[in-house]
Protein backbone atom coordinates (compact mmCIF):
# COMPACT_ATOMS: atom_id res chain seq x y z
CA UNK A 1 0.00 0.00 0.00
CA UNK A 2 2.78 2.38 0.97
CA UNK A 3 4.64 1.76 -2.26
CA UNK A 4 1.60 2.31 -4.51
CA UNK A 5 0.75 5.53 -2.62
CA UNK A 6 4.23 6.88 -3.27
CA UNK A 7 3.93 5.92 -6.96
CA UNK A 8 0.56 7.69 -7.21
CA UNK A 9 1.96 10.83 -5.58
CA UNK A 10 4.99 10.72 -7.84
CA UNK A 11 2.75 10.43 -10.93
CA UNK A 12 0.61 13.34 -9.72
CA UNK A 13 3.66 15.57 -9.17
CA UNK A 14 5.04 14.62 -12.57
CA UNK A 15 1.71 15.41 -14.22
CA UNK A 16 1.42 18.81 -12.50
CA UNK A 17 5.05 19.64 -13.34
CA UNK A 18 4.59 18.84 -17.01
CA UNK A 19 1.40 20.88 -17.21
CA UNK A 20 3.22 23.85 -15.64
CA UNK A 21 6.08 23.53 -18.13
CA UNK A 22 3.79 23.19 -21.10
CA UNK A 23 1.91 26.34 -20.19
CA UNK A 24 5.06 28.42 -19.75
CA UNK A 25 5.92 31.15 -22.28
CA UNK A 26 9.35 30.51 -23.78
CA UNK A 27 11.26 33.39 -25.32
CA UNK A 28 12.90 32.28 -28.59
CA UNK A 29 16.32 33.58 -29.50
CA UNK A 30 15.42 34.16 -33.18
CA UNK A 31 12.89 36.17 -35.14
CA UNK A 32 10.03 34.02 -36.40
CA UNK A 33 9.15 36.50 -39.15
CA UNK A 34 12.14 35.52 -41.26
CA UNK A 35 10.81 31.95 -41.43
CA UNK A 36 7.61 33.06 -43.12
CA UNK A 37 7.95 33.00 -46.94
CA UNK A 38 7.36 36.37 -48.60
CA UNK A 39 4.95 36.03 -51.52
CA UNK A 40 2.68 38.28 -53.53
CA UNK A 41 -0.82 37.00 -53.92
CA UNK A 42 -3.27 38.64 -56.31
CA UNK A 43 -6.46 36.83 -57.11
CA UNK A 44 -8.48 37.87 -60.13
CA UNK A 45 -11.77 36.48 -61.32
CA UNK A 46 -12.54 36.01 -64.99
CA UNK A 47 -16.07 36.64 -66.12
CA UNK A 48 -15.68 34.66 -69.34
CA UNK A 49 -13.98 31.28 -69.49
CA UNK A 50 -14.90 30.47 -73.10
CA UNK A 51 -11.35 31.11 -74.31
CA UNK A 52 -9.62 29.24 -71.49
CA UNK A 53 -7.78 26.92 -73.92
CA UNK A 54 -6.02 29.92 -75.50
CA UNK A 55 -4.47 30.83 -72.19
CA UNK A 56 -4.19 27.46 -70.46
CA UNK A 57 -0.42 27.28 -70.74
CA UNK A 58 0.40 30.89 -69.98
CA UNK A 59 2.08 31.67 -66.73
CA UNK A 60 -0.52 32.48 -64.12
CA UNK A 61 -0.90 36.23 -63.69
CA UNK A 62 -2.25 36.01 -60.19
CA UNK A 63 0.57 34.15 -58.49
CA UNK A 64 4.17 35.25 -58.29
CA UNK A 65 7.05 34.12 -56.18
CA UNK A 66 8.64 37.47 -55.48
CA UNK A 67 11.79 35.97 -54.03
CA UNK A 68 12.47 33.96 -57.19
CA UNK A 69 12.28 37.10 -59.35
CA UNK A 70 14.54 39.06 -57.06
CA UNK A 71 17.08 36.24 -56.87
CA UNK A 72 17.27 35.94 -60.68
CA UNK A 73 17.48 39.68 -61.14
CA UNK A 74 20.23 39.85 -58.53
CA UNK A 75 22.10 37.01 -60.27
CA UNK A 76 22.10 38.94 -63.55
CA UNK A 77 23.16 42.20 -61.86
CA UNK A 78 25.97 40.43 -59.98
CA UNK A 79 27.14 38.76 -63.21
CA UNK A 80 27.25 42.10 -65.06
CA UNK A 81 29.14 43.68 -62.16
CA UNK A 82 31.69 40.87 -62.09
CA UNK A 83 32.31 41.17 -65.84
CA UNK A 84 32.45 44.97 -65.80
CA UNK A 85 34.27 45.80 -62.57
CA UNK A 86 37.78 44.81 -63.69
CA UNK A 87 37.59 45.55 -67.41
CA UNK A 88 40.67 47.07 -68.95
CA UNK A 89 41.95 47.97 -72.42
CA UNK A 90 44.70 46.14 -74.24
CA UNK A 91 48.10 47.86 -74.29
CA UNK A 92 48.80 49.59 -77.62
CA UNK A 93 52.22 47.91 -77.84
CA UNK A 94 50.49 44.49 -77.81
CA UNK A 95 48.16 45.62 -80.61
CA UNK A 96 51.15 46.59 -82.77
CA UNK A 97 52.75 43.21 -82.13
CA UNK A 98 49.56 41.44 -83.25
CA UNK A 99 49.42 43.56 -86.41
CA UNK A 100 52.96 42.57 -87.36
CA UNK A 101 52.64 38.89 -86.44
CA UNK A 102 48.99 38.43 -87.43
CA UNK A 103 49.19 35.17 -89.40
CA UNK A 104 51.77 33.53 -87.10
CA UNK A 105 49.33 33.80 -84.18
CA UNK A 106 46.50 31.82 -85.80
Amino acid sequence: MGTSTYKSLANLIATISSSVISSSVISLSYDLDILIPKMNHNYSFQNSIADWKDYAFNQSVDYQLQNESIEKLQTIIDFYKKVLQNTKDIDSEFVDIVNVNFWELI
Partner: protein, 206 residues
Protein backbone atom coordinates in the same frame (compact mmCIF):
# COMPACT_ATOMS: atom_id res chain seq x y z
CA UNK B 1 10.45 44.27 -62.10
CA UNK B 2 8.88 40.81 -62.22
CA UNK B 3 10.12 37.52 -63.64
CA UNK B 4 8.51 38.05 -67.04
CA UNK B 5 10.29 41.36 -67.50
CA UNK B 6 13.62 39.81 -66.53
CA UNK B 7 13.12 37.00 -69.05
CA UNK B 8 13.05 39.56 -71.88
CA UNK B 9 16.78 39.91 -71.38
CA UNK B 10 17.50 36.18 -71.39
CA UNK B 11 18.02 33.82 -74.33
CA UNK B 12 14.59 32.69 -75.51
CA UNK B 13 13.07 29.20 -75.69
CA UNK B 14 15.00 27.81 -72.70
CA UNK B 15 13.64 24.76 -70.94
CA UNK B 16 13.46 25.06 -67.16
CA UNK B 17 16.54 22.83 -66.90
CA UNK B 18 18.52 24.98 -69.35
CA UNK B 19 17.40 28.15 -67.58
CA UNK B 20 18.61 26.72 -64.26
CA UNK B 21 21.94 25.82 -65.88
CA UNK B 22 22.24 29.34 -67.27
CA UNK B 23 21.63 30.97 -63.90
CA UNK B 24 24.05 28.55 -62.23
CA UNK B 25 26.62 29.57 -64.85
CA UNK B 26 26.04 33.28 -64.26
CA UNK B 27 26.27 32.78 -60.48
CA UNK B 28 29.51 30.81 -60.65
CA UNK B 29 31.32 33.28 -62.95
CA UNK B 30 34.36 33.68 -63.12
CA UNK B 31 35.41 30.34 -61.60
CA UNK B 32 33.61 28.49 -64.41
CA UNK B 33 35.44 29.91 -67.44
CA UNK B 34 36.14 26.43 -68.77
CA UNK B 35 34.45 23.78 -70.94
CA UNK B 36 31.10 24.90 -69.53
CA UNK B 37 31.24 27.69 -72.12
CA UNK B 38 30.58 25.04 -74.78
CA UNK B 39 27.80 22.60 -75.62
CA UNK B 40 27.67 19.40 -77.67
CA UNK B 41 23.87 19.49 -77.68
CA UNK B 42 23.66 21.09 -81.16
CA UNK B 43 26.55 19.24 -82.82
CA UNK B 44 24.57 17.53 -85.54
CA UNK B 45 22.44 20.45 -86.66
CA UNK B 46 23.02 22.24 -89.98
CA UNK B 47 22.48 25.72 -88.54
CA UNK B 48 25.26 28.22 -87.88
CA UNK B 49 24.78 29.70 -84.42
CA UNK B 50 26.04 33.01 -83.13
CA UNK B 51 29.27 32.25 -81.29
CA UNK B 52 30.04 29.10 -83.32
CA UNK B 53 33.66 28.36 -84.09
CA UNK B 54 34.09 27.36 -87.75
CA UNK B 55 37.17 26.25 -89.65
CA UNK B 56 38.44 27.73 -92.91
CA UNK B 57 36.65 31.06 -93.19
CA UNK B 58 38.44 33.60 -95.36
CA UNK B 59 40.28 36.30 -93.44
CA UNK B 60 42.03 39.48 -94.52
CA UNK B 61 44.24 41.65 -92.34
CA UNK B 62 43.83 45.07 -93.97
CA UNK B 63 45.59 47.03 -95.36
CA UNK B 64 47.57 43.97 -96.44
CA UNK B 65 45.99 42.18 -99.40
CA UNK B 66 46.69 38.62 -98.34
CA UNK B 67 43.62 36.44 -97.83
CA UNK B 68 43.85 33.11 -96.01
CA UNK B 69 41.48 30.57 -94.46
CA UNK B 70 41.44 30.59 -90.66
CA UNK B 71 39.35 29.32 -87.75
CA UNK B 72 36.81 31.99 -86.84
CA UNK B 73 34.01 32.76 -84.41
CA UNK B 74 30.63 33.88 -85.77
CA UNK B 75 29.45 37.30 -84.61
CA UNK B 76 26.25 37.45 -86.68
CA UNK B 77 22.92 36.84 -85.05
CA UNK B 78 21.69 33.25 -85.59
CA UNK B 79 18.40 34.38 -87.15
CA UNK B 80 20.07 36.79 -89.55
CA UNK B 81 22.18 34.04 -91.12
CA UNK B 82 19.64 31.20 -91.05
CA UNK B 83 19.02 30.29 -94.70
CA UNK B 84 15.43 29.35 -93.84
CA UNK B 85 14.69 33.03 -93.23
CA UNK B 86 14.09 34.53 -96.67
CA UNK B 87 15.06 38.19 -96.76
CA UNK B 88 14.89 40.99 -99.33
CA UNK B 89 18.31 42.08 -98.16
CA UNK B 90 20.26 38.97 -97.09
CA UNK B 91 22.88 39.61 -94.41
CA UNK B 92 26.57 38.98 -94.90
CA UNK B 93 28.00 36.63 -92.29
CA UNK B 94 30.26 38.49 -89.84
CA UNK B 95 33.10 36.76 -88.01
CA UNK B 96 36.48 37.26 -86.38
CA UNK B 97 39.58 35.05 -86.53
CA UNK B 98 40.53 32.83 -83.58
CA UNK B 99 44.13 33.16 -82.36
CA UNK B 100 46.21 30.73 -80.32
CA UNK B 101 46.69 32.07 -76.78
CA UNK B 102 49.99 30.23 -76.38
CA UNK B 103 51.38 31.68 -79.65
CA UNK B 104 50.17 35.14 -78.56
CA UNK B 105 51.90 34.79 -75.19
CA UNK B 106 55.16 33.57 -76.72
CA UNK B 107 55.12 36.36 -79.34
CA UNK B 108 54.62 38.99 -76.63
CA UNK B 109 57.44 37.52 -74.54
CA UNK B 110 59.71 37.64 -77.59
CA UNK B 111 58.76 41.09 -78.94
CA UNK B 112 57.39 43.22 -76.12
CA UNK B 113 59.32 45.68 -73.98
CA UNK B 114 57.10 44.82 -71.03
CA UNK B 115 58.42 42.58 -68.27
CA UNK B 116 57.55 38.90 -68.13
CA UNK B 117 55.41 39.59 -65.03
CA UNK B 118 53.42 42.25 -66.90
CA UNK B 119 52.80 39.89 -69.80
CA UNK B 120 51.78 37.06 -67.49
CA UNK B 121 49.39 39.48 -65.73
CA UNK B 122 47.94 40.42 -69.11
CA UNK B 123 47.42 36.75 -70.03
CA UNK B 124 45.73 36.13 -66.67
CA UNK B 125 43.43 39.12 -67.28
CA UNK B 126 42.51 37.64 -70.66
CA UNK B 127 41.64 34.31 -69.00
CA UNK B 128 39.34 36.16 -66.57
CA UNK B 129 37.60 37.91 -69.51
CA UNK B 130 38.76 41.30 -68.21
CA UNK B 131 40.09 42.72 -71.51
CA UNK B 132 37.24 44.47 -73.32
CA UNK B 133 38.58 43.84 -76.84
CA UNK B 134 39.28 40.14 -76.27
CA UNK B 135 36.97 37.16 -75.84
CA UNK B 136 38.81 34.26 -74.21
CA UNK B 137 38.03 30.72 -75.40
CA UNK B 138 39.08 28.05 -72.89
CA UNK B 139 40.44 24.69 -73.99
CA UNK B 140 37.80 22.35 -75.45
CA UNK B 141 39.18 18.82 -75.25
CA UNK B 142 40.15 17.44 -78.63
CA UNK B 143 38.62 20.45 -80.42
CA UNK B 144 40.40 23.64 -79.41
CA UNK B 145 43.43 24.74 -77.42
CA UNK B 146 43.18 27.91 -75.31
CA UNK B 147 42.38 30.69 -77.78
CA UNK B 148 41.42 34.34 -78.07
CA UNK B 149 39.30 36.49 -80.34
CA UNK B 150 40.02 40.18 -80.92
CA UNK B 151 36.54 41.65 -81.20
CA UNK B 152 37.87 44.57 -83.25
CA UNK B 153 39.28 42.35 -86.04
CA UNK B 154 36.06 41.60 -87.87
CA UNK B 155 35.61 40.14 -91.38
CA UNK B 156 32.56 39.35 -93.49
CA UNK B 157 31.57 37.28 -96.52
CA UNK B 158 28.37 36.19 -98.30
CA UNK B 159 26.39 33.94 -95.98
CA UNK B 160 25.37 31.52 -98.74
CA UNK B 161 29.00 30.62 -99.51
CA UNK B 162 29.17 28.49 -96.37
CA UNK B 163 27.81 25.04 -97.19
CA UNK B 164 25.36 24.03 -94.47
CA UNK B 165 25.63 20.31 -95.32
CA UNK B 166 29.27 20.39 -94.22
CA UNK B 167 28.75 22.49 -91.09
CA UNK B 168 28.78 19.57 -88.65
CA UNK B 169 32.28 18.53 -89.76
CA UNK B 170 33.53 22.09 -90.12
CA UNK B 171 32.32 23.26 -86.71
CA UNK B 172 34.89 23.51 -83.90
CA UNK B 173 32.49 24.43 -81.10
CA UNK B 174 29.11 25.86 -80.21
CA UNK B 175 28.69 28.04 -77.14
CA UNK B 176 26.39 26.91 -74.34
CA UNK B 177 23.60 29.17 -73.05
CA UNK B 178 25.98 30.52 -70.41
CA UNK B 179 28.82 30.88 -72.94
CA UNK B 180 26.57 32.64 -75.44
CA UNK B 181 25.32 35.00 -72.73
CA UNK B 182 28.88 35.88 -71.76
CA UNK B 183 29.83 36.31 -75.43
CA UNK B 184 26.90 38.67 -76.05
CA UNK B 185 27.73 40.69 -72.95
CA UNK B 186 31.33 41.13 -74.07
CA UNK B 187 30.20 42.04 -77.60
CA UNK B 188 27.80 44.63 -76.20
CA UNK B 189 30.46 46.08 -73.89
CA UNK B 190 32.88 46.35 -76.80
CA UNK B 191 30.50 47.73 -79.43
CA UNK B 192 27.49 49.30 -77.78
CA UNK B 193 28.29 50.55 -74.30
CA UNK B 194 26.34 53.74 -73.80
CA UNK B 195 28.71 55.30 -71.30
CA UNK B 196 31.52 56.15 -73.71
CA UNK B 197 32.15 59.45 -71.86
CA UNK B 198 31.54 61.50 -75.00
CA UNK B 199 29.14 64.42 -74.95
CA UNK B 200 27.38 64.67 -78.34
CA UNK B 201 25.19 67.69 -78.79
CA UNK B 202 22.46 67.76 -81.45
CA UNK B 203 22.47 70.09 -84.43
CA UNK B 204 20.07 72.92 -83.66
CA UNK B 205 17.42 73.40 -86.35
CA UNK B 206 16.76 77.05 -87.11
Amino acid sequence: MNLNEIKIYLPKFLSSESERELFDGLKDFPVNIDERLYTTYLNDTKIIYQGDGLNNLLVVNLPKHEIKPAPCIILSNTCDIDLQNKRNFPSQIVYAPIFSLEKYKQTLLKNSEKSKEQIVDHINSIKKQEITQIFYLPKFNGKLEESIVFLDRVNNMPNTLIERDKIASNRIFTLSDYGAYLFLLKLSIHFTRVQDKVERKSIRLL
